[in-house]
């Protein structure tokens, strides 16, 4: 077990394995996106209250889920990097951060686009939108910190501590924002009472969520591969690869 972890954690082995996995995850991402988008845009019925604009949900909800999932990846990978000093975990965390931030931006933008016809305004201080905005700030802080520290090892460890502090804070922030919203706003935002979702809408939604997750894995592996190559640029196996490319 330990030797297996050690083997997979070694940059060289990871580089090779990731190179083999990437085409598969990329292919499955495309298949799921094709099936999910077909279901989302064509076969699923329009919402009985919101009409066609509810279809933005198929992008918005998976993006919001992924934004939280990727932050958890940051925290867990950071903890692994801090405790067992596995370099690969640091690489994964740093490769994930910009992707997570983009998912957060996507969730905010789609939420705002959906809000214009539904609420009549681009931005409402809705509890979920606000927590998502704060999550974006946390991502930007993480990226700001890790890029400000020049030594990559130190940057990864500092980022890991910040991600862990943030992960402890996220539930507190989420519930305090929820609570603040009910206190101050109440009925001004007509929050749609969530009807239990119809099966024809649920299946494309779940397929889209799977597609988003696979997309994330594909991109993070590509980014992590590039980072590993850069970090190990002085080692012999990287030099061999470079020599091959030049020929």
């Amino acid at each position: 077990m330990y030797t297996w972890i050690h083997k997979f954690g070694s940059p060289k082995h990871f580089y090779r394995m990731a190179g083999k996995i990437i085409p598969w995850t990329a292919a499955f991402t495309l298949i799921l996106f094709a099936y999910g988008l077909y279901g989302a845009l064509i076969t699923s019925p329009p919402d009985y209250q919101q009409g066609e604009s509810a279809r933005i949900m198929y992008v918005h909800v998976p993006a919001a889920w992924m934004s939280m999932f990727v932050y958890m990846v940051l925290a867990v990978a950071g903890a692994i990097g801090l405790i067992w000093r596995i370099k690969l975990a640091d690489v994964m965390a740093q490769a994930s951060a910009p992707i997570g931030a983009s998912f957060t931006v996507l969730a905010l933008v789609t939420g705002s686009l959906w809000g214009k016809p539904m609420w009549g305004t681009w931005w409402a201080w809705d509890a979920r939108l606000t927590s998502e905005l704060i999550l974006l700030f946390l991502y930007l802080g993480y990226m700001g910190l890790t890029t400000a520290i020049e030594d990559r090892r130190t940057a990864a460890r500092a980022g890991a501590i910040l991600a862990l502090v943030g992960a402890v804070n996220i539930p507190i922030i989420h519930y305090s924002v929820d609570w603040w919203n009910t206190l101050h706003q109440g009925a001004t935002v007509t929050k749609m009472s969530k009807p239990s979702i119809h099966i024809d809408m649920l299946i494309p939604l779940l397929v889209m969520a799977g597609a988003f997750k696979l997309y994330y894995f594909t991109i993070v592996l590509i980014r992590a591969r590039a980072d590993v190559l850069f970090n190990e640029r002085r080692s012999s196996w990287v030099r061999e690869i470079i020599a091959k490319v030049k020929l």
Partner: protein, 222 residues
């Protein structure tokens, strides 16, 4: 262990006392920021009293943020911080003493001056006690959570702007509960729930942040 804690605490208080002019700066900043609001919004007491709790708390947040830099900065530059990290005493305890001393010289003055500012902003008298209580419970949380950010950025040349980006999002729960409590108190509502939340955040940050600060200092000093 307790002696090491007290020694560190007394040392920091003494150092702060020797730089008295620097001590007054966060307090002045707090007062000036608050007096800007009536100038910007007009002196009408009805307007001021509705926004007062938010104004006081946002100013307290900014004052705490600006004063944070002094927790570790000078010790980092003269090398004392490395000695502290290398000392055989538990680092978590020593950093807790440092943060506590820092709160005594920057947080406590804010609490003491707050009644004066509250009357300038026409906060209702029945909310005054709640305001001071929220500051008493909330400002230590600001110092503790902020110190994690300072410990992470202490080695960086331009850490100031980055520090605010790291720390301010983490301050949001304190702001929400504290300002909410003062607002409710002004309406004559019961605020024990918010105060309990603030108290639990204080307990949580006292127990967890010294660990994070110590780990962050070890990373920063490498």
């Amino acid at each position: 262990m307790f002696r090491a804690f007290m020694a560190m605490f007394n040392r920091d208080l003494l150092l702060a006392y020797r730089h008295r002019s620097e001590l007054i700066n966060p307090l002045l900043f707090f007062v000036i920021i608050i007096s800007l609001f009536p100038l910007a919004l007009g002196p009408e007491s009805r307007v001021l009293s509705t926004i007062a709790s938010g104004v006081v708390w946002v100013s307290a947040l900014l004052a705490a943020l600006l004063s944070l830099d002094t927790v570790f900065r000078s010790d980092f530059h003269d090398g004392a911080l490395e000695q502290i990290v290398l000392s055989p005493q538990p680092l978590t305890l020593l950093v807790f003493a440092k943060v506590l001393a820092h709160w005594c010289v920057t947080g406590v003055p804010l609490i003491l001056v707050s009644p004066l500012l509250a009357s300038m902003l026409h906060i209702k008298e029945e909310a005054l006690g709640t305001l001071m209580l929220t500051l008493l419970l909330g400002t230590p949380v600001l110092s503790l959570v902020g110190s994690v950010g300072v410990a992470l950025t202490v080695g960086l040349r331009r850490g100031g702007m980055l520090l605010s980006i790291l720390v301010l999002p983490l301050y949001i729960p304190v702001l929400i509960f504290a300002a909410g409590a003062v607002n409710d108190a002004a309406l004559g509502l019961d605020v024990s729930a918010q105060l309990a939340f603030l108290g639990s955040m204080l307990v949580l940050s006292i127990t967890l942040t010294p660990l994070a600060i110590a780990a962050a200092l070890r990373v920063s000093l490498n």
